[in-house]
Amino acid sequence: MNTTLTQVAWLARRSALRTLRRPAAFLPMLGFPVLLLALFAGGLDLSTRVPGFPTDSYFSFLLAGGFVQGALVGGVNTGLDLVSDVQSGFFGRLLLTPMNRGLIVLAQLCGSAMLAVIQSLICLLAGGVVGVWPHSLAEAVVIVALSAVMGMAFSSCGAFLALRTRSSEAVLATFPLTFVLLLFSSFFMPRNLMTAGWFRTLASWNPVTYLIEAVRAPLIGGNVAHATGVGFAIAAGLAAVTVSLTVGRLSTRTVTV
């Protein structure tokens, strides 16, 4: 048992460290959401004057999107890293070891979850700099935990795609999809203030909306228990489905080194 845990820990550590050691991979994951937050918050300051807008600081409203965007981009990065492992032969050699294949995937995803935690702490710090904090320490912990589960869910999507296609181009092609998921959600505006009915419907069908709302509730107030409950359920459900798919894909994979 201890040996298994040690193996998982080493692989998770490797997965996180190799991203942290490559600024070209880590900085876009971290810097781009922060840059977008600053630009959009400045441009959409007017939104706080809309009657019924839930806060008087647009930055605090928008900040939640940064956590989800980071997790989405992290998913693409995980896929790219895995493709690189498959192409270099490292992953094939890993599959030849006696280690359980499911645990190999889990270890990769734990690494991604670690990165998501680091990223969420940095986002919390960025919010703190402009005076946006969760209302309690417990709520901050909830946000970080939710980020970890989201990170795991989206990374698993990236891993599944990497194992299915073994092509970095195919994984990279999903990057614009992260923007579509983000922009067609309640990222910019609460759903009750969307005047275009078709857009509100689209946002309501988009699971990213509920993830954003789950992170947002502790930051700006509202029904925190309900929003975070729904957010955790969606993130955990997504993680369960995508991890199962990835492990399933791996169990039928023939090793070629």
């Binding site: 876009p28 630009l39 959009f40 918050a41 400045g42 441009g43 959409l44 300051d45 007017l46 939104s47 004057r49 809309v50 647009y58 614009p176 923007f179 579509v180 922009l183 067609f184 990222f187 910019f188 505006m189 203030l193 969307m194 005047t195 275009a196 078709w198 857009f199 689209l202 946002a203």
Partner: protein
Amino acid sequence: MTATTTHAAVVQRTGSSHVALGIAARNLRAAFTTPSLFMPPVAAPLVFFIAFAGGLSVLAGQRGFDFHDGYTAFEYVFVALQGAVFTGIFSGLALARDFETGVARRFLLSARNQQAVVWGYVLTAMGRAPVVTVILYALGAAAGMRVSAGPVELLLFFVMSELLAAAGALWSCGIALRFRTMQAAPLAQLVAFLLVYLAPVFAPVALLAPWLRAVARVNPFTVLLESGRGLIQGDAVRLAASGACLAVLLLLLQLWVVFGLRRARAAGAS
């Protein structure tokens, strides 16, 4: 001027236009027949247009929002001009890809006027940009976008987007000449991204946050955006200023390319 030098000048000019048109035809054929090249510059503005116009339309009803053609038209101008800039950048980055395959080096070695090679990529951008502008317009019209502009104002708006596409292509060609690798693509895109988003994207300048308002007031893209929005409403707003901005921008970018060609020559790439 003797007859020989006149003839040489004519040959030189003919050669340059042939080079530019030949490269543009090659690149346009590739752009319109390869989905992976055609889709990104078209799909990204479409997504932005639908998301901004659909999700933020409540802003148009706020006090101080003085744009009478509605929020869809307000955002159309932004995404069309942003689309033109990025179509230009994607077209210019084809030069970086051609450096990686060695084709660009052969182009530069064989052309008498090396600037004609760059103008081939600029013409590609100008051939691709109207497709994006028209698709966005058709989508907006289908969604009921109100446009008060007459044919002359619309034509001027399309000319403006064409010139912005040329500017985008010159900018990324300059990057491509200096770095000669596609790995420099994020640099070309990031600078353009900052330029277009440090402007009144979602609301008029007066309604932006104070720090962004201060930056937007000195950003030349703001002048173009306001002028474009004026044209769509049928008004000539800051037209002379936007014309001057575009002229200066194109002149500076032409110099950027000239020095880029020198850098490429010094590095033995041509």
